[in-house]
Symmetry: C2
Subunit: 556 residues, 2 copies
């Protein structure tokens, strides 16, 4: 996440193929708002042949991704008592009861716990309570199970590959994978129950909480699978990325007593995006129509149906004291909007901000960054407000009016500065009203300060992102990182900044698992060993084209 | 100073020619550190044919520029008692005694008050005490003096024009103007005593202080010149620019009872730069050699003499917790570095930041801006520190260590992130160390907070400036505005940011009267009436080429 940086080429990552079958993938209903951005993802047609845990340790937060078995599709009724996976003793379930407010951990299969997802749901924007420690969920599948398991596992992974090809042969046929599958190989067993991709988050400061969580996960998995802890540890691998992967490498090895593999941060970011973008209802953005409506009360001058909107820059809504209501549009899982998403610009907003250019072939370069990121907002607001954590800060900002502290164009000119097209509501100087000789500090409300700072940082990131996207001719900008937290004001400000500066020619895209791109990428990297030639050809059509090639664009 | 803005064309300003003779111009020695950036400029060969005062009222500060007569060159001994200008009654002097600490007003001719300027003087970087109210200095020359004066004045202005042409006919001959002058027209009278360009600054909040200052100046000038206040008011004109020119237009007219003319902000900025850059020892920058030395302890791999330095980006010094010692290089008055300075990018940092692209012909466009400017630093530091004013905040920052609050690359990686060329001292996240659950707020020092915020804002402005300079292919970036205040850490950070991002291909330039560009431009605009044809031709070679043309580049 470093800020100022040169623009060197990054060492070329190895060719990667995603053979995780996303057919029928679903983001599970949340059992708690705290899991807003860390809901589990149910993968009905994937099982993991070897256990591993992926972690992405940033400057402020450590993100965890791991896969646990599931024995029922998310949209069916919960398991009957005693019912269990073929790999589990009847007495044990990989699912623990939902924990309504004491965790940011991932998923629950209890369908009745919450309403089902709606493509235009505002769920991603629910307020969230203070973050507490993630709670363990599910158990890993060790690579030391019975021969019986191995067979099924291997046939499963060939099933996975056949599914993968099916997916590509029938883009848009996510809902009826079996057609493809059985056409490909009737000899395969019926689909395995699949499982859940779990997400958890910790403060890097509390690294011991992370370690404890991982130890418990490993211990629990050993118990659930009735293997010794030693066997489990031998078979579990930790894929670590982010700066902390280097900082805490020795500590992790010593405390977990498992293999720890370090992966390059930027490469994992790109891989993570490539995978997660294939999950339905993961990618979303503000609709052009909304932006247009906001700047047009009447509709007479709307363009004909189907025509691209070209909104005059002067009519684009600007970040203002009171941003309009927002509305999300999810990428259509059946449209090419969903996969591939390259070329694009990825702006990862953690403690600091990294800006990465991704070409169509998946090759990438960290081209820019800024030190004004989440850490800046969190740090300053922890000095300026009583908020105890980021979620409280966001709640504060929602109740504030930045015009009480920001100097607007109208405050300087007494009106618009129409000569250069600036509206009187445009922010001329963030916190520009605060500096008053002898003015009492307590005369400024925490809420207003929080909102002003959120705008200032979001606007600035959007501005720098736009300049880089323009420089490299990219019209799609993905915003990731835990700074966003699915927060409406943040997303609207970033979206407006991109639209405003690009005069409506660029789109700002967001992700529901925005903070986990790096961790997901690290997890993907270990999903399967280096591919054997015949598998490559067999599956060549079956995976995201942008990940089917190496970063030089050489197809296999 | 507005922040986010579209990029429209700005209405074309009228053709302008500068006939103010800068021959022998000198920046007077300061009588107080408070005048660091507002020292008077002695113009031995210019007198003002008509009185006017220029003001630039921004969101936080109002800047004043006005010309008063002088009856002695700056570098001679002080006047004998009773000695006076031919236009003054013997009993009166236009100079008031130096005021050592109670003002930011401009100039004194008392040579012995301070050491004479040295091209490598650090004077511009002296600490300055809290700003207090400017003190009135000198008297205006009304357009209502005797016929005798009028004659001398008009012959003076023709002398001015002839000097102007001389200057250009002998670029680099600033030191011996008479040669040119007498060759041109032996009939002209010996040089007139000239006078002083005065600078003063007020907080926009205290607009009444500004009005009182202007009232006193007008009253005093009436008394000194023995004309009635009514006559003086009829003959004095106020040229107003900046947002406050609109906001306070009616107030100014009512309170001053003089004509108030509004001038466009961006146009004045460009005109002001075009004029001030012609003053010796006004423009300065960090030497390439210094930057190079900083990143090379040994000198073996220096390029041959005369060859342009191309410093590898990875070896460019970065903004770091402890920037190296700085050193200024003044533009050589005899070099083309001095005039013209176009094309260039002008980054004016006031409460907010305006970024203006200037073409070779002087045409310009406000292409960008950011709301993270001086107002942001002043506002946040007034909330976070006990500093009462900006100078105290700068003093605080000089005693601080930002690494106590900033998250550096080394804090995240435990080392350099060499894979993408980031040193461990690079700031990854401004204030990234502050956010600690339950950490006591008082555990952070005001000095460290001040330094961190100064770096954060300066880095960001430098970054955005670089991106715009690169976009428009400009290699010279002028930083103006009262944010800079000749402050070493600010100038070094801005310079490093430009060098770092541009890989040493761009130069950051600074000005000693950085905060007064707009006010100087407004003053210049009224220096003489619209030019008559013959004067144009007569002086066509005599002034800055960039100001000899209209903004479309059509030469006259």
């Amino acid at each position: 996440m470093p800020a100022t940086s040169p623009m060197p080429d990054i060492s070329i990552p190895q060719a990667r193929r995603i053979v995780v079958d996303t057919t029928g993938a679903q983001i599970v209903q949340e059992e708690s708002p705290a899991t807003r951005d860390s809901r589990g993802i149910y993968l009905p047609h994937y099982i993991e042949p070897v256990s591993h845990i992926a972690i992405d340790i940033g400057g402020s937060l450590a993100k965890v991704v791991y896969f646990t078995r599931s024995n029922l599709p998310i949209s069916t009724t919960p398991p009957q008592s005693g019912h269990s996976s073929p790999f589990l003793p009847p007495s044990e379930s990989v699912f623990i009861p939902p924990f309504s407010s004491n965790g940011t951990s991932s998923s629950s299969s209890r369908h009745h716990e919450s309403p089902s997802l709606n493509p235009h749901s505002h769920a991603p924007f629910d307020h969230s309570p203070p973050t507490r420690h993630p709670t363990l969920n599910g158990a890993l599948t060790p690579g030391v199970l019975s021969e019986d398991y191995r067979n099924q596992a291997s046939s499963a992974s060939s099933a996975v590959r056949s599914y993968a090809s099916t997916v590509s042969n029938h883009r848009g046929s996510f809902s009826k994978p079996h057609a493809g599958k059985y056409r490909r190989s009737d000899s395969l067993p019926p689909p395995l129950p699949g499982g859940l991709l779990n997400f958890a988050r910790f403060e890097t400061d509390n690294i011991n909480d992370l370690i404890k969580f991982l130890q418990d996960l490993i211990n629990r998995s050993a118990a659930v699978n009735r293997v010794s802890l030693e066997k489990m540890q031998k078979n579990v691998k930790v894929m670590a990325t982010g700066g902390g992967a280097h900082m805490y490498y020795d500590l992790l090895r010593k405390e977990l007593n498992v293999e720890v593999k370090r992966e390059e941060e930027m490469e994992c970011l790109i891989l993570g995006l490539g995978f997660i973008a294939r999950v339905p209802e993961e990618v979303f953005w503000f609709s052009e129509e909304l932006v247009y409506k906001v700047s047009h009360t009447n509709t007479k001058d709307r363009p004909p149906e189907g025509e691209k909107l070209t909104i005059p820059p002067s009519e684009l809504p600007r970040p203002s004291p009171t941003p309009p209501a927002y509305q999300v549009t999810f990428a259509d899982a059946n449209a090419t909007d969903n996969v591939p998403n390259f070329p694009c610009l990825i702006v990862n907003i953690g403690s600091g901000v990294s800006i990465v250019k991704v070409d169509e072939d998946g090759s990438f370069e960290r081209v820019s960054g800024t030190s004004l990121g989440g850490g800046t907002l969190w740090g300053l607001l922890s000095l300026l407000t009583d908020a105890e954590n980021f979620d409280e800060m966001l709640l504060l900002s929602e109740q504030g009016d930045n015009s009480a502290v920001d100097m607007l164009v109208g405050d300087i000119y007494g009106s618009d500065y129409s000569k250069i097209g600036l509206k009187s509501s445009t922010i001329a100087s963030s916190f520009g009203k605060v500096f008053r000789k002898g003015k009492a500090k307590k005369s400024f409300k925490q809420e207003d300060i929080a909102r002003s700072l959120l705008y200032a940082i979001s606007n600035n990131i959007g501005h720098v992102a736009y300049m880089n996207a323009a420089k490299y001719g990219l019209d799609k900008v993905f915003f990731g990182g835990c700074f966003i937290r699915g927060h409406a004001a943040t997303i609207s400000t970033l979206s407006y900044a991109i639209r405003f500066w690009s005069k409506g020619t660029m789109r700002a895209c967001f992700l529901r698992h925005e903070g986990f791109l790096g961790a997901i990428g690290a997890w993907i990297k270990n999903v399967e060993p280096e591919p054997e030639p015949e598998i490559q050809s067999e599956t060549s059509g079956g995976v995201d084209a942008s990940l089917q090639r190496d970063v030089n664009g050489k197809a296999h």
